[in-house]
Subunit: 424 residues, 2 copies
Amino acid sequence: MRINLDRLKQLFNEMSKVGATQEGGITRPTLSQQDKEARDLLVSWMKEMQLNVRFDDIGNIYGRREGRNPEAKPIVIGSHLDSIINGGKFDGVLGIICGLEVLETLKENGIIMDRAIEVVNFTNEEGVYFEPLMAGSGLISGDYELSEIYKQQDGEGINFLDELKAIGYLGSEKNRLKEAEAFIEVHIEQGPILDKEKLSIGIVEGIIGFTWLEVTVIGEAENSGPTPMPYRKDALSTSAKMISAIQNSAQEISEYGITTVGKITAEPGVVNTIPGKVTFTVDIRAEELQKQDAGVNLIKNRLKRIAFEEGLEISINEINSMEPIQFHPELINNLIDSADELNYQSKKMISGAGHIASFMNNFCPTAMIFVPSIDGNSHSPKERTDWADIEKATNLLLKSVMKLDKDGINYKCVKAHTNLTYKI
Amino acid sequence: MRINLDRLKQLFNEMSKVGATQEGGITRPTLSQQDKEARDLLVSWMKEMQLNVRFDDIGNIYGRREGRNPEAKPIVIGSHLDSIINGGKFDGVLGIICGLEVLETLKENGIIMDRAIEVVNFTNEEGVYFEPLMAGSGLISGDYELSEIYKQQDGEGINFLDELKAIGYLGSEKNRLKEAEAFIEVHIEQGPILDKEKLSIGIVEGIIGFTWLEVTVIGEAENSGPTPMPYRKDALSTSAKMISAIQNSAQEISEYGITTVGKITAEPGVVNTIPGKVTFTVDIRAEELQKQDAGVNLIKNRLKRIAFEEGLEISINEINSMEPIQFHPELINNLIDSADELNYQSKKMISGAGHIASFMNNFCPTAMIFVPSIDGNSHSPKERTDWADIEKATNLLLKSVMKLDKDGINYKCVKAHTNLTYKI
């Protein structure tokens, strides 16, 4: 039994028209008219497929195919239809369309499963006009309060609740997802690894955690000409040493450890004045909390040491952090076994970006399937994935769902809730 | 015969009131009402001292004490009364007040010299409201065209000529300085060297040249999380290596070689995005043209090599330059001998900043005397110099002038005009 790629492509191409941009991308911020159009299209598909359609009090849309056993917890597949401004066609959409195609394949093969399957579109993954991002999944996992989300305002002062009502997707609390045997999200990698390694499938073991630092280095601003090198306290040349040290620390932090300095300002910022103050950010990521914390300490100590050696002042503030997430080992094993049975080469990997699965992991056993992002392009009209890879990922999803229906996940997710709140 | 420090201080303190700021500095941009007030005060002093006062067609003010021999070229002492916004009390003022005190000392000792001495206030050294800076001396040296200077407008669209007329200092072309045996400028060092080395006197051999580069490094902007270190083209971490290489190159360039990266921008400048483009400036300075040019080439090659090794693109543009200036060796020897005769410890040094003497060196034999800037502070209300050091510098000026009157400078300045135009 295999999925039908042509049928999948047809849905994908139809959805790609909603909010299409001149550059070949899409613009579908959550609760916008384009988002409403995409939701309406999804609901019309679900009804055609004879799914039970409902939406809850944050606007998450569920399409449910009932199973034989009404007591069994459903298997949930999902992602998001919303996008950033001029984003790509694949991000989010794929996780929903692959789920629908799995249901169509089961139907055309006359298979009735033991468990229900629900395909879900979660509200506001991207957080373009309304904070927080990943609101729909954060509500289900219990990480967010709905009353707080309702109050959030967009740039024009309109609040979330009013916009949700306006597009006609305010449902009731009783429609929320209450339990699930497992959650699986198919998503583009958003990085270059699978493409570079010519692999079709990534089986995601977890999501990398991050700590963001803001570092301020204080030296002395002096005119360059009259100030010989030995008398200087140059905040920028000292920061350059720090940036190199940060760069070199990545491989010491962990296997997936990464460090990035994304933002820098030098004051006063004049060609012939030695910078007296430099501020830069550090983004430190690791796949395990202990390694992440150790990495942050390693970098803090190295920066302080450089400042001390150069005789400059330094202050370091932690401005944001998220703990790494480990997905469910049994579900990961299910995916690995399923890929093996299909003779698909796959790679266990860590996601470098946050996903709906980040929150769903707090709610039920969760894992993800990655497909390659060609040239690593993401959040851009250049986003692209080969159809052959999407076909494999959907077959893998089908196989994994069949296995889950048969064997289930034998234990409840007992993982403590990690703090997922994005402060910025 | 020694100068009278109390008399000098009285003039200094009176002048410090003109344009005084709350922070203890002064604001006297050229051709402003404060500049007019400072000029009026100077002219009143010159008249009291029975000097012949004149001003020329750019507003340079001359106070001349006649000598016995009307054929002999005058010895010229001078600097500037204008300041930046909230600048220091010493910058410029000192060169004029020391000159006046030398004339007072000669007068009180009944000494009539062979040569005339002229004390000059040059117009617009700082270039606050009108470009180019150092206009008054650049006109005398023939480096600037008066018609071009007249046309320059301040921020309110008023042109230089109208402002010069408005403050009453438009004189005639015939009043310009036409010839001089020598020009000597006393000035604060504006750097930390004399203060750090506990020396009262710097004898300035020349002015450091500079070349300014604008460097653009092009990498690839990607989301930090999903992009492992080996797949990155990080324009900022590459730039950090370049900044360290620039810093380390300074000592290879020349004895006085200095390098500064004063300005940097990283795009897109987001905490979790690898910078795809970084632009920074490089200020390269050396005391000899050949070394300056070699230093620029050394740095250009090192930056290109780093870009090549890291697989990033680089472009380097020269945005400004000024050749180094060597002052007159005989006049420098005069100053060294004079300091020795006075038992003053002195240090031969290179000025890191441009001065009126930069242009005057194209006109006649020129040199400078530096006094310490405490803590290297300059262009700030914190500017300060010990009175004991100012006293020594003025005695040195007096001794040097006496020696010049006796021996003269035996040959005309034959140095080719260097390109002094500040493009920025």
